[in-house]
Amino acid sequence: MNNNEHISFLEHQGKYKGIFAWIFATDHKRIAFLYMYAIAAFFLVGAILGLLMRFELIAPGETIIKPQTYNGLFTVHGIIMIFMVVIPGLSAVFGNFFLPILIGAKDVSFPKLNNFSWWLFMFGSALAIATQLLKSGSPDTGWTFYAPYSTTTGTSVILATTAAFILGFSSILTGLNFIVTVHRMRAPGMRFFNMPLFPWSIYATAWIQLLATPVVGITLIMLIAERLFGIGFFNPDLGGDPVLFQHLFWIYSHPAVYIMILPAMGVITEIIPTFCQKRVYGYKAIALSSLAIAGVGFLVWGHHMYTSGMSEQARWFFSLLTFIVAVPSAIKVFNWITTMYKGSIDLKPPFIFALAFIFLFMIGGLTGLILGSVATDIQVHDTSFIVAHFHYIIFGGMGFAFFAAIHYWLPKMYGKMYNFKIANISAVSLFIGFNLLYFPQFIIGIQGMPRRYFDYFPKFQWAQVISTIGGVILVSAVILMIYNLIMGVRKGAKASANPWNGTTLEWQIPSPPSLENFDSAPIVKENPYDYN
């Protein structure tokens, strides 16, 4: 096409002007930007709360905040990071922007519903943040809202659960939209098995969003009903069963981990063949392993409950299933490594972030096996080992994949390029800061340091100090990275349509794309990663 005639979606004049052209946008790319800016802001808030906790823990006893404030901090840190950053993160931002483009579509199936999902997301997020401002104080239950404590505490649990409920609705509608888009909007000639692998991961994620989220929605309504009317679902004094809450909560919240990590795996699967200039190894195995993770991931929730009083038979059953879910995850890792083997590797920033992802995700995954086994899990349950494992999976996994994705696709989204040197420095600093922050938590976790505790024995201080230093490095690196990206967007060199020499459909259209992505029907290749 003639690039002189190209009008990008950013320049396109629609029905509305100014801010309204954004907040009422139905273009999937603009909605992706709306999510990205909101999520970036929430991430910074969550990171500041996390850093405050780290400063509190730099020495035993009270240092900068009171114990009740600490309880509120870890709860709101968890709610913001889980429900407002990590769950929507990759799916709502890069899924929205690139799913339609990668399958050769003009938009998602339901553009208006897509915009409504964002509004729901913002409304739910506003309610979650409002819990900080209420007289009753921020909820102190942890992001898991475990009963029976959550049925009795005087803090603002009802508002926080209502926020999570509304955020869940947003997630369901986004998932529904993506499933229909993949089924109905693929370009002519694009079958399921010549669809790129990021759409595969988003498709598997969307099924989890659609099927698992209603369970937590119902659970949170039951919790609200319990608090308001004393029905007795979960409170043993009223004949209820607190373990039932844990079952219902984790039936959603364990698959939710896969909502977070599956799109991350999809991103890495896009980046590795591009920067190795090699066809992805085991295409079908990677595609089907996404579905396998989504499917088996539904059946392993009980490994969060080994110490909750569950029956012995259920414990070994969940332990078995947990080990099985490691198989499809390992398939992906083996395929990524094999794709790199004898590839023409180009160590550009997205690939460095992708390598960091694999390293950190492997540590998170392997320590997960320690938690999947009943015997070892009981030893480290509710210790800082869990905190370390969880952050290696979620921040080391999803977080680094998000950073990889923004460095990979930013030239396409904005048509500008960032500074590679600063990007590399921020990637290495992030990696160092991250490991300094979380790895010591594995060690003191095994030694018995409980999670969510405001105070600790002096013997754990060495690790808490290292973690706090790591936290400062990490946050500084994040600020450097964001600065570099902003400067790239504002003053960076113009990016070409295909700066990485990629083969998937987004690299066949101008940067940034036009309103409807394709001016003519895209040419669909038999293998989307054909570098021959």
Binding site: L211, G295, F298, S311, Q313, F317
Partner: protein, 94 residues
């Protein structure tokens, strides 16, 4: 794609289904007067499952959709069944 064709269901079929659904609702209420012990919930779920099948098949036109979509919806029900079953592994042995 092979799913773009539309299908119009006759009114008399829809009305017939509506009456079957009302009958099922009546049975759901009446069956509570029998003491089915541990199978009370099972009976209610079976009737509700049959009603869902009718709604999905006729009112939501799944009957006229491609095999792939019918399999996907069936998988959802299978998943629900497996989750309930696994949960009761805990409750049955506790």
């Amino acid at each position: 794609m092979d799913n773009n064709g539309s299908h119009i269901t006759e009114y008399k079929v829809l009305i017939r289904i509506l009456f079957i659904l009302l009958l099922c609702t009546f049975i759901t209420i009446e069956i509570t007067s029998f003491d089915l012990a541990a199978f009370t919930v099972t009976a209610a779920l079976l009737i509700a499952g049959f009603k869902s099948y009718l709604v999905l098949s006729y009112f939501m036109h799944l009957k006229y959709e491609s095999l792939l979509l019918r399999i996907l919806v069936s998988m959802v029900f299978l998943l629900f069944f497996v989750i309930v079953l696994i949960t009761f592994i805990d409750y049955s042995f506790r």
